[in-house]
Amino acid sequence: MADVIDTLLDLPAGSPLAALRAQRADYVRYTQGSYEVLLAPEDPGGLSLVERAAAALRVAMVHRDERLVAHYRERLAAVGGGGVLPLEETLAEEVPASRLAALLHHADRVARAPGQATADHLATLRAAGFGPRDIVALSQLIAFVSYQARVLAGMRLLAAEVPP
């Protein structure tokens, strides 16, 4: 799989920023590795590929990162979750209680204001049918996309920097 950060930054091989990233081979390797095991795991367990892409898309939307939003929209469509998009768009409004709505509300809340989390939020996920492994995978996914959005934001500043 192509390196997602390079792709989202449009970094051609051999560009100065690609060379800079290459100085930290472990950042590159384990950032990409995290993406692959969270979005496209060999064994997704009880958190489906559609649910994973949907949660990632919601986190990208909270971060208002257009490129990352477009990426996860494509990912969601590619795994057969195109029907989820209307729910993503209307999440702020009244939506019927469902497993997917519980997941998206959780992703939204954790991405936006991690300090306001409570044990009740995990109880809500468990009541919606998510087991401990699914909840941990979802939490890692939300945390990862929050990381990814900041790596992208920081690298874009470097890419646009005008030397004095």
Partner: protein, 186 residues
């Protein structure tokens, strides 16, 4: 709960993996984490594949040689943790900063007076960049980057700083949403 330089415990909200009945994959992933017995890593071990990638990423971001000095990585992670309100994370990394610099008073002032407390130009630039990149959505600007350059930071140092902040956007969210800090015994 208030920010502190004292050690803080952490209580998980999910049942943790029982080390006695962990799968070989879970045991191997726990062995590669900073603490195979902490309730935090025993929680993350429910999903081995992600823990297996995250532990070496975290380690590299905090300890990779050269680049941004370790104390400044710790400072950035404290700032991100303060902005996000993560008492547990800020306590751990505030103490690492204090050990490396012998300047616990810098952290005490950040806690008591806020992130605007007077700092030298290099720390000021790091703190402001870290606080801005932590916002939702991230709010770091070319002005923040220019301040880092004026303070003498090179490309690799800035790359490290970006990753330290991003890693704690990640760490804070896990710590704050899978459990809660327990106040130090006084």
């Amino acid at each position: 709960m208030k920010f502190t330089l004292q050690a803080v415990e952490w209580n998980p909200w999910l049942p943790v993996v029982d080390p006695a009945s962990a799968t070989p994959e879970q045991a191997a992933a726990l062995d590669k984490s900073p603490s195979a017995t902490s309730p935090y890593f025993l929680t993350l071990a429910h999903d081995v594949a992600s823990l297996d990638q995250r532990s070496p990423l975290f380690h590299s971001v905090m300890y990779a040689p050269r680049g941004l000095p370790r104390a400044e990585r710790e400072l950035a992670t404290v700032v991100t943790s303060v902005v996000n309100g993560c008492v547990y994370c800020s306590s751990v990394h505030a103490r690492r900063f204090a050990e490396l610099t012998k300047q616990p008073e810098v952290i005490a002032r950040l806690y008591e007076e806020g992130l605007g407390t007077p700092l030298d130009a290099r720390r000021r630039a790091i703190v402001d960049f870290a606080a801005a990149l932590t916002q939702v959505p991230p709010a770091a600007t070319q002005e923040h980057l220019a301040a880092l350059r004026s303070a003498g930071l090179g490309d690799l140092e800035i790359l490290d700083l970006i990753h330290a902040v991003a890693m704690f956007a990640n760490a804070n969210r896990l710590m704050q949403t899978l459990g809660e800090p327990v106040p130090p015994v006084t």
